[in-house]
């Protein structure tokens, strides 16, 4: 075998050739996986029906909406705050500054609403 040493990789390829799985295994696995898929589908259907009725499952969407709203409000405030020096410079008195601030707030709120929705 010494001259075959150079070709040990060829020998390895032949010695470790792929092994075909028995047909019974294929059939058995397909049945097992098929029933798992069916069980999971039934579970999903049952969950969807329960979710409609159970108020505990409303927590997640409500929480997501609350988090989203808080983030949107924060963004409006940050963007409005960024323009405060310019407003102060351009304002003629306290009432004018308040008016400009309110207009900026409304404009930023519209922009954020456009971005988010």
């Amino acid at each position: 075998m010494s001259e075959q040493f150079a070709d040990i990789e060829t020998l390895l390829k032949r010695a470790l050739s792929p092994v075909e799985p028995p047909k019974e295994l294929e059939a058995r696995l397909e049945v097992t996986l098929g029933s798992l898929v069916d069980m999971a589908a039934e579970e999903l259907e049952a969950w969807e029906l329960r979710a409609m009725r159970d108020p505990r499952n409303w927590v997640r969407p409500v929480a997501a909406a609350a988090v989203g709203s808080t983030a949107a409000v924060g963004l409006v405030l940050v963007r409005t705050q960024r323009r405060r020096h310019k407003r102060r410079r351009e304002a003629h008195g306290a009432a004018d500054l308040l008016g400009r601030t309110m207009r900026d707030l409304a404009r930023e709120a519209r922009r954020v609403a456009d971005d988010v929705f």
Partner: protein
């Protein structure tokens, strides 16, 4: 796979993707299992366990793979299960040559016997290698995995895997050479 986290359409898509994965890699998982445990009965168990475990974690694996092939992930599951198999049952792999169907080309009787002896010696040599080297060879030669896939399956870098394979082949050559020397008259 949590049913509560996905819609029915997503679930159907996921099941279809898993079915494709299963069909594409059943032979790989079975071959790997067979060469790890050395008999068909336990290889069947290991293959079944591998796919059941893979099904449970498929959604996450698909998400985290970012489009990369999932074969290394499947083989890694089989690899971990095989490690548990040895630990739990304190078993050693059996020599798998007799019924693996490794000799398929037509030969003369003398050449056939010689060829069978050579392949037997190679497999006995593979059995004597340290676990990580043996597994790397099984992945490369029985499954045809490239360095990157083997690296992912074994949780190593590409470079470390290249070195591992190189050393495995060199060590195997030494083992086979020694066994040949000890059997010659």
């Amino acid at each position: 796979m949590a049913a509560t986290d996905m819609t029915r359409e997503e679930k159907a898509r996921l099941d279809e993707a898993f079915s494709k994965l299963y069909k594409a890699h059943l032979r790989d998982v079975y071959s790997y299992s067979y060469y790890r445990v050395g008999n068909h009965h336990d290889a069947e168990d290991l293959t079944e366990q591998t796919f059941l475990q893979a099904y449970r974690h498929f959604e996450r694996a698909q998400r985290e793979s970012a489009g990369r092939p999932l074969r290394p992930w499947l083989i890694r599951i089989a690899h971990n299960l095989a490690a548990n198999y040895y630990r739990d049952r304190a078993r050693k792999p059996q020599a798998p040559i007799d019924d693996a169907g490794v000799i398929s080309a037509p030969h003369t009787t003398e050449a056939l016997v010689e060829d069978r002896d050579d392949l037997k010696r190679i497999l006995e040599g593979v059995d004597q290698l340290p676990d990580d080297r043996r597994e790397a060879l099984i992945m490369r030669f029985a499954l045809g995995m490239d360095n990157r896939e083997i690296a992912r399956a074994l949780g190593r870098t590409d470079g470390a895997t290249k070195v591992l394979l190189h050393r495995a082949i060199r060590q195997l050559e030494e083992i086979v050479k020694q066994s040949e020397g000890s059997t010659e008259p």
